[in-house]
Amino acid sequence: MATQETREGATADVGRRMTRVTELPLVRKWLAAQPFWVTVAVIIICAVMSWLEPASFPTRDNFFNITRNFAYIGIMALGMMAVIITGGIDLSVGSVMGLTGIVCGLVLQAGHSWWLAALAGLGAGALCGLVNGAFIAYVGLPSFVVTLGMLAAARSFAVVLSENKMIYEFGPDGDVFMALGGGEIAGVSNMVWLLLAMTLAFGFVFRFTRWGRHIYAVGGNEAAARLAGVAVNRIKLQAYTLCALTSAIAAIMVVGWQGSAINALGTGYELRVIASTVIGGANLLGGEGGAYAALIGATLIEVIRNSLLMAGIDSNWQGAFVGAFIVLAVLLQRIRGSRAD
């Protein structure tokens, strides 16, 4: 009984302190934002790992590796974020990445220039996105079903186009292509620079443009957005196209980095990409999320992966950890949501 009372007293005290803090609107906004807490988690994990593994974790090489490994996932997560904000989902990103990678490889193999290869990859990606978007926005099929179909179809195209062979003889412009994805500037991989630039660009579009405002409106209340005069169908089509384009960009960078194109590229990445957005704070029901959320979500997953490897835990356990973090992130949202209501 006595302990009960003390506990209640303590809770009340914490409550009072909380209200005092939450009177500041900016502080309240920060504390309520999931990306903030994910950033804190990333910093804590990095600090702990640096203390546990001072010889291998806080090194230049490891930093280079970690950042490069989440860069292409982060790039795809930005496009996925646009789709998820509208209240949809794109399961086909991994397969689209595989297909566009093969298209790039084939164009290079045929001896064409690097920019034509990149354009062909982007074109193939945009086409996949347009097909997804058209079926979802104009035919009205659920995004889950349409993109699941594309997941199977795009992978199959990749296998057929590549004749199930690895493409690595890139022709005269192969070196430029490999420098693009595999190069580094100031000790940081090109892919990471691209991710940072794209995060800024997406953040700007999400926050400051009409298009950005409208994707949030579609995800928040599609019927209301339509009644208000938002071009809901067009917005959706554009979101899926943008998402597929980010997969194509990621494919171009990864094919350049690895110096080869395989049709299995991107297999299973949809899970990592969607997990990044959700862990970053996107709401799978739509209407919530942001560019930084995609970046920091992808970062957390990779930092955890890397830490597990360094701690000597079998890499087969990674899936279990990523899965647990997805559920944890949604649980966190639910708790925050119920408090807000």
Binding site: G212, Y216, A217, G220, A223, L227, A228, V230, E288
Partner: protein, 246 residues
């Protein structure tokens, strides 16, 4: 002169006659309570005025000129706005973002334009002040009370410079205290010279604010009289059919 005049409007859905020979006039600065049982034709009438579908026969005159609406956009362009029962707001956006949804103010030059949130918040603040509602422009709608949500929905119609506002059951899903707030909002609209149609099941609300009452039963208009000449008992009788015509 009436701002909107409906003349012998009928609407058939196959063999079903949803409305038959209904006349209705709306004046500026007037609240008309539109009452009737479920299936009496209230929503059909509202949907015709809002441009959801055209009448089977009859004529609609806007300030004396005949109008034909094919889409809701047509009606909106003519100054007729509907505030829907479920309010049709985006909970994840701020009040001002909802007010300006699809009509956002932007700044910049040429195709390089960004949202002008400051200007939109400022204008929303003015609109809420006109409505004497304590709604904060930068607050998310999710956090708001039913009355504040109504203010947001109504501010949207204000922004469009609507002359006629059709309110579909605005007091159906909110608490008693908030009902008073919403009825105040309606009075504000009347003061500003709008014609308001209040579709409601709640007798006290209609008798609280309306100037005139129109009762529909089975697609026919059975009453159209000043509220002071009627009584809740009479209207109940008209709705149920205990009284044939008044």
């Amino acid at each position: 002169m009436a701002v909107l005049e409906l003349k012998t409007i009928s609407k058939h859905f196959g063999a079903i006659e949803a409305l038959s020979q209904v006349d209705l006039e709306l004046d500026c600065g007037e609240i008309v309570g539109l009452m009737g049982d479920n299936g009496a034709g209230k929503s059909t009438l509202v949907k015709i005025m809002a441009g959801n579908f055209p009448p089977s026969s009859g004529q609609m005159l806007l300030e004396g000129r005949p109008v034909h609406f094919h889409k809701p956009v047509d009606a909106r362009a003519a100054g007729i706005e509907v505030v829907y029962q479920d309010l049709a707001l985006c909970n994840n956006l701020t009040a001002s973002a909802n007010v300006f949804l699809a009509r956002e103010k932007t700044r910049g030059f040429g195709p390089f334009r960004i949202l002008d949130d400051r200007a939109m918040n400022e204008r929303s603040r003015e609109l809420f002040a006109e409505l004497k509602s304590e709604t904060r422009p930068a607050e998310k709608v999710r956090m708001m009370s039913g009355g504040q949500r109504q203010a947001v929905a109504i501010a949207r119609t204000h922004l469009a410079r609507a002359r006629i506002v059709l309110m579909d059951e605005p007091t159906a899903a909110i608490s008693v205290r908030q009902v008073a707030e919403v009825l105040d909002l309606l009075r504000r609209l009347r003061e500003q010279g709008m014609a308001v149609v209040l579709i409601s099941h709640r007798m006290p609300d209609v008798f609280g604010v309306a100037d005139r009452i129109v009762v529909l039963r089975r697609g026919h208009k059975v009453a159209d009289k000043a509220i002071k000449d009627s009584s809740p008992e009479e209207v109940t009788g008209l709705i149920t059919g205990a009284i044939r015509v008044a």
